[in-house]
């Protein structure tokens, strides 16, 4: 099966609409960034505490917001954890030791039974459960040693946390599936404990200093990676190719960050990893086309550079479509099934792969063409024979590529 045989689309002839589209997208992203005062950083980069909570049913966001505002006071943000199942992310400023506990207390006061003096099994650790059960179980006549009680509690905890319950039990009767949980144990559980309709899934607290550090690190890592690639491509091809590739990749990154801003999504460490991946992918695409251009130039047909680039893009078209399509498939799978933690990551890649594929053809290649046309024009005034100057250019590329032979 073949999608494309020998195609001959005039890609560069239609470059202007695409370049304008690129500029519009970039501008839209930048304007959105400007209006919102920069990207929306996650707590990784600005410091603060992020607690994710899973609810048994659709969480009553307004009620949660009210109670968190009441109990924690400082500018809490409550939002649905995108891609999660009844999950919420509660962002609070400040990263002191007990923010996690305060969020838990606030939620318990609204949804649990804080005054009953019972233990919330859905938010208790194994040792909490063991400590709570020890006395009553002994009093009720169950002959269990300390170790057996500890094991029982840790089995209950594991049963609650396995992936079919995701940390939330809805009734104590479910526990009868755990070995060692007799009706007697269940009746003690009922008497001593209760099940709240939510569970704390994770909590991240980042101090402002580390936040700033991580941000600087991420920017340095990206710039260095770009610089490294520029040097490598300049060494393997010609400096303008390196520059074209890096500008294209930069364009992809800006548009993707702009999309995050447009959709009001947070940028955290995993998104940075995604941005770097898309840098790699887009670069990959660009290099495949550049490689072809170099190869075609070496053959030395009398053809304008525009023609050579067009032909190269056409020759690599089915590869470009296949690879991008397949990668797109894996990334879409990640986006759909990867869960809430990878949501930002896969969103960045979904956007990035589309933009990255297109930028190789419509941003990187035109830059190389513009530069050579401009350089040629300069030479035309100096030396009137244009064809010769074209060969001179080709000569330098040929020389560059001979290094590896």
């Amino acid at each position: 099966m073949e999608l494309f045989g020998a195609t001959n689309f005039d890609f560069l002839g239609k470059k202007w609409p695409f370049i304008i589209a690129s500029l519009v997208l970039t501008a839209a992203g930048l304007v959105s960034l400007g209006l919102r005062g920069g990207p929306r950083y996650g707590i990784d980069f600005k410091g603060g505490t992020m607690t994710t909570v899973k609810f048994a049913q659709t969480p009553p966001v307004d009620k949660i917001r009210t109670v968190i505002d009441q109990k924690l006071g400082f500018g809490a943000s409550v939002q649905n954890f995108v891609g999660g199942d009844n999950e919420l992310a509660i962002g609070t400023e400040g990263s002191d030791n007990n923010t996690r506990q305060r969020v838990l207390d606030a939620l318990e006061s609204a949804f649990g039974q804080p005054t009953s003096g019972k233990l919330d099994v859905n938010n208790a650790s194994g040792s909490d459960i063991a400590n709570r059960l020890r006395g009553p179980l002994t009093a009720s006549g169950a002959l269990l040693s300390d170790d057996q009680i500890n094991k029982l509690a840790s089995d209950i905890r594991q049963f609650r946390d396995n992936s079919s319950h995701s940390g939330l039990l809805s009734s104590f009767d479910q526990l009868s599936a755990v070995s060692g949980v007799t009706p007697q144990v269940i009746s003690v559980l009922r008497q001593e404990c209760y099940l709240s309709p939510f569970t704390l899934r994770s909590s991240d607290a980042v101090g402002p200093k580390i936040g700033g550090q991580l941000r600087t690190q991420a920017i340095i890592a990206t710039l260095c990676a770009l610089g490294g690639m520029l040097i490598y491509i300049a060494f393997r091809f010609e400096w303008i190719y390196g520059l074209g590739a890096v500008i294209a990749v930069f364009h992809d990154t800006i548009i993707t960050i702009g999309m995050f801003s447009l959709f009001n999504k947070e940028i955290d460490l995993t998104v940075v990893a995604a941005l770097l991946t898309l840098v790699g992918y887009s670069m990959n695409d660009t290099i495949v086309i550049f490689d072809r251009i170099r190869e075609n130039l070496r053959v030395g047909r009398r053809e304008s550079l525009e023609g050579v680039i067009n032909r190269s893009v056409n020759q690599t078209l089915s590869r470009t479509v296949m690879t991008s399509g397949l990668t797109f498939l894996t990334v879409v799978a990640l986006f759909l099934f990867g869960g809430p933690v990878l949501h930002g990551f896969s969103f960045a890649l979904v956007v990035g792969i589309i933009v990255g594929t297109y930028s190789s053809v419509f941003v990187a290649s035109p830059i190389v063409l513009f530069w050579h046309n401009w350089a040629d024009k300069g030479r035309v005034t100096a030396a009137p024979v244009a064809v010769e100057s074209r060969q001179a250019v080709r000569g330098t590329i040929g020389k560059g590529s001979q290094k590896r032979l």
């Binding site: 990263s95 650790s125 991240d204 495949v288 490689d291 397949l326």
Partner: protein, 536 residues
């Protein structure tokens, strides 16, 4: 040609076997298989749940302590040498940046004895620089090399103490190590896998557990003000007020500033129950401290002693008789509190207080869900790729899929052999490696198709396809590896894990997509009948 192919096949098969061994070992039954996989593929904190903490050691505390000790010693030794010092005080650096500014001021040194005083400081306090401020006053600052040394020791001792405490919890593979630049960041990274009670662990790590047994001068007083009032507004020399917080209310005691026995003198501590079945922590003292304690209690019978933990009185007792080597902290609320306190006392005290810079906790249920989702996403992605490759490249697609699977196996085995951990971004790295691997195959196959279209014979087309795609593959891989290198150097945590898996995957890919795939083609084409058509 045939022999060459044979060698290649042997290399490939042995690589596969080595990799499979790396992942599953040699299992005898299903349980062992599962155990081996769990042991070899280490999951990161985000996948199996756990806590990740970054602590900053407040080194200025240690510097202040040293200044205090020096002031005591200076007064002591000057007194012995017959130099009457008017008084000493110090500044109070209260942030890490200010730690270097520590300064002791010495007032009222008699001018007649100034030479003697200089000699004393020069001989016995050589880590300090002495500068005269006036004829009778001096200031002392720490030498820069000494400052560096103090801070380094503080960090080392903190790491040691925290390690002791963490190890006492009996976790598997906890990490306690220095983080960032040693001479500027003063940070410690603590990773505790599988912990399901982060609050308790943080308390154990962060607790200074400064134990002191001190002489009670007066008390109890109902409030701090009442105590001060009785003393005419000024506390007597070398005393301090310490609270005793109890359920019925807080009382204050006036106690001696210096302790008879401190936490450093504790040889061992353990939890036990008193005669009323209340929990307590018993401790025994080292030999040297026991001697000191015995002398003190012998000469202070019928006076009172207070056990102070982190500047709070825990118990007050009247000395009935000489006590030598043991003591107890009573009235604890639970067995856990008693055993945690024993753990902390056994592990030594922290030389400086600690501030949490980063605390991440992933609950085990989220970790389990993430694994499930990661696997589903990976499988769905892989399945889609496999289907498209088979439809689009027919039999040659099979070739690519084989290379893909092998790539994933090598990647997993490499992670296992290097002892690297698989994190969520790492799984993302694996999925992207699959993408890159597909790309290499597509590049090669498209090239072969082109050559076939140009009318080349099958064998020649395959050879040309591989050799022409080779440099493109090298270029794309090297560029990505270059960028991963920087991610590894400058990135943190998750970004690093991602870079590691991607780099391993890329190297594996060059091997599988180019070398293995070519060998399979050669194998197909090496039959006795010349092949005239290729299923691609």
């Amino acid at each position: 040609m045939q022999r060459n192919l044979m060698v290649k096949t042997i290399v490939i098969v042995s690589t596969i076997l080595l990799c499979i061994y790396g992942i599953i070992g040699i299992p005898k039954n299903k349980a062992e298989l599962e155990y081996n996989i769990q042991r070899n593929i280490k999951l990161g904190l985000d996948l199996r749940g756990g806590s990740h903490l970054v602590l900053q050691v407040q080194v200025q505390d240690a510097v202040r302590t040293i200044a205090d000790r020096t002031m005591d010693q200076l007064k002591n030794q000057a007194g012995k040498a017959g130099i009457e010092i008017g008084g000493t005080d110090r500044n109070n650096p209260d942030s890490i940046e200010q730690a270097d500014s520590i300064q002791i001021n010495v007032h009222g040194v008699p001018t007649a004895k100034s030479n003697q005083f200089r000699t004393l400081v020069g001989e016995n306090f050589s880590q300090w620089i002495l500068n005269p401020v006036s004829a009778t006053d001096y200031k002392m600052t720490l030498k820069p090399t000494e400052l560096i040394d103090i801070k380094r020791r503080t960090i080392e001792q903190s790491i040691q103490t925290i390690s002791n405490r963490v190890n006492g919890l009996g976790l598997t593979e906890p990490v306690v190590q220095q983080r960032g630049r040693a001479d500027a960041d003063y940070e410690i990274l603590v990773q505790l896998p599988g912990i399901d009670d982060p609050a308790r662990v943080q308390q154990i790590i962060g607790e200074a557990a400064q134990l002191e047994i001190v002489e009670v001068k007066e008390g109890p007083f109902a409030t701090q003000e009442a105590a001060l009032q009785q003393k005419g507004g000024i506390l007597p020399l070398n005393t301090r007020l310490v609270p005793w917080i109890q359920t019925q209310g807080t009382e204050w005691f006036l106690v001696s500033r210096s302790a008879v026995v401190t936490g450093e003198d504790v040889r061992s501590a353990k939890a036990s129950q008193d005669e009323f079945r209340k929990w307590e922590t018993d401790f025994t003292l080292s030999q040297e401290a026991a001697g000191r304690f015995e002398n003190f209690t012998g000469s202070h019978i019928n006076e009172r002693l207070a056990v102070i933990l982190d500047n709070q009185v825990r118990s007050v007792a009247t000395i009935q008789s000489k006590i030598s080597d043991s003591g107890r902290i009573s009235n604890l609320s639970s067995q856990q509190e008693a055993s945690d306190l024993a753990l902390v006392m056994n592990s030594g005290s922290l030389p400086a207080s600690i501030v949490y810079e980063e605390r991440r906790t992933v609950g085990p249920s989220l970790g389990a869900d993430s694994i499930k989702q990661g696997i589903i996403a990976g499988a769905a992605g892989l399945l889609a790729v496999v289907l498209v490759m088979l439809i689009y490249y027919k039999k040659s697609g099979l070739n690519a899929i084989l290379a893909l699977v092998l790539n994933t196996v090598i990647l997993m085995a490499a992670l296992s052999y290097f002892g690297a951990t698989l994190t969520l971004p790492g799984i993302a790295g694996v999925i992207l490696t699959i993408g890159m691997a597909v790309d290499s195959n597509v590049l090669i196959f498209e090239r072969i198709r082109e050559e076939l279209r140009a009318g080349k014979a099958v064998m020649a087309a395959v050879d040309a396809g591989f050799s022409k795609a080779w440099w493109t593959i090298v270029d794309t891989h090297v560029t990505t590896i270059v960028s991963c290198l920087f991610l590894f150097l400058f990135g943190s945590g998750p970004v690093k894990g991602f870079a590691v898996t991607l780099v391993i995957g890329l190297f594996a890919n060059v091997f599988t997509a180019v070398w293995v795939s070519k060998t399979i083609f050669d194998f197909e084409l090496s039959g006795s009948k010349p092949v005239t058509a290729l299923s691609i």
